[in-house]
């Protein structure tokens, strides 16, 4: 993503806005982190979940390349 709608995300550009298929069945929108967005992220790459505690109250479900 190069042109987010919210200026608060501008500092993360480019970031990965991805559609992730869970092994359990559902599909979700999320971010892939710990990888270079332009070179280390590819379609169908295996991922593992990362729970990002963005605030004291909120945790976001994100993904990184599976180790």
């Amino acid at each position: 993503m190069q042109q987010p709608a919210n200026p608060n995300f501008q500092e993360d550009v480019p970031y990965v806005y991805a559609m992730v298929q869970l092994d359990e069945g559902p599909r979700m929108i999320s971010n892939v982190i710990d990888a270079d967005p332009m070179n280390e992220v590819s379609v169908d790459m295996p991922l593992e979940v990362v729970f990002d505690d963005v605030t004291d109250e909120w945790t976001l479900v994100k993904w990184r390349p599976a180790s």
Binding site: M1, Q2, Q3, P4, A5, N6, P7, F9, D12, P14, Y15, Y17, A18, M19, R27, M28, I29, S30, N31, P37, M38, S42, V43, D44, V54, L60, K62
Partner: protein, 385 residues
Amino acid sequence: MGLRRTSCEVRSVSLRGKAAIVGFYEIPTKKEYPGRNTFSLMAEAARGAIRDAGLRPEDIDGLINAEGLNSITLSEVLGIKPQYTASMTVHGASGSSSVATASAVINAGMADYVLCVFGESRPASSSRLRAVDAANRPSPPSRAGEWESPYGPVIAANGGYGLIKERYMYEYGATQEMFAKCAVDERFNAAANENAVWQGQPITIEDVLESRYTNNPLHLLESVMPCSGAAAVVVTSAERASSLPNPPAYILGMGGPATRHDVIWQEEDVTTTPVVMSAPAALDMAQYSAKDMEFAEFYDCYTILVMMCLEDAGIAPKGEIGNFYLENDTTYKGNFPINTDGGQIGAGQPGLAGGFRHVVEATRQLMGRAGERQVERKDLCLVNG
């Protein structure tokens, strides 16, 4: 108590050729119409279409417009007293759906002359801010608010279509050049369209590929620009059409669904669209095949969408639409013209009038009134909203 058919051999009453579009009017699509609101633009288009059809406002007894705009108030603005009104709620497909609904309404005897009108007036200077504001506005608990925006609110549909284009390129080996060719052909058509926001401004493949990413792999120049504008058509029965001034544009077939999901990325197979269902239904009613179609006017918010829909309609085998664009001339001069007015990528997107404009341009071409952009083979057009 209920009745249930044990078999489905009679799916629907065929409306093949029973209704026709008999008049149209389009105001130029521009970045903005300062000092004029949406009602004003729609009223101008509506009055123009009624006049073009050889009718008077008092002849109009049906009105179909878009979600979000009160069709009752619009009737008062236009000075008409319809027996039937409806507002479409299928987003971009609202325009084409309105004409299909009009045909059904007319054949049900609920109205004789149905006006379908769409339009939007938005201030250009705040267009980006409005898109940003729409993405960021606090809202009641929603799918987007909980499951999408926390990972980066997106402008318009840049998020979903970026994902779908990426997936399509992965599954079918499509190249960026193929998508760029689609945009280039449409901008060529728009360059010859005096109503287009990009009139006189064709582009090259390099221009598209060098334009900045909005959401990699989506480039700016393969996306629509939100604009202002309006358009309208009048639909009536085939019998009444024969006594009106314009050559009728008969509606031979129609089919849905428009969509099953509010976001396209929830489709089970994201690189296949509902057109795999709606196109065969429409062609079946029309008793033609995709190969019989002479030109196409297809919804094009982004190149990836128009291209997937075309192949789902049978214009090319699945996964081959990219090669189709590279190997064919899809301009109004070409062997298979697509979006002959430039589509929305070329002419701009005036809200839901953008999708409706495909219907208007199809009508213009079928009636032989497209001037320099007139396609040679003009008898059968496939339209997708």
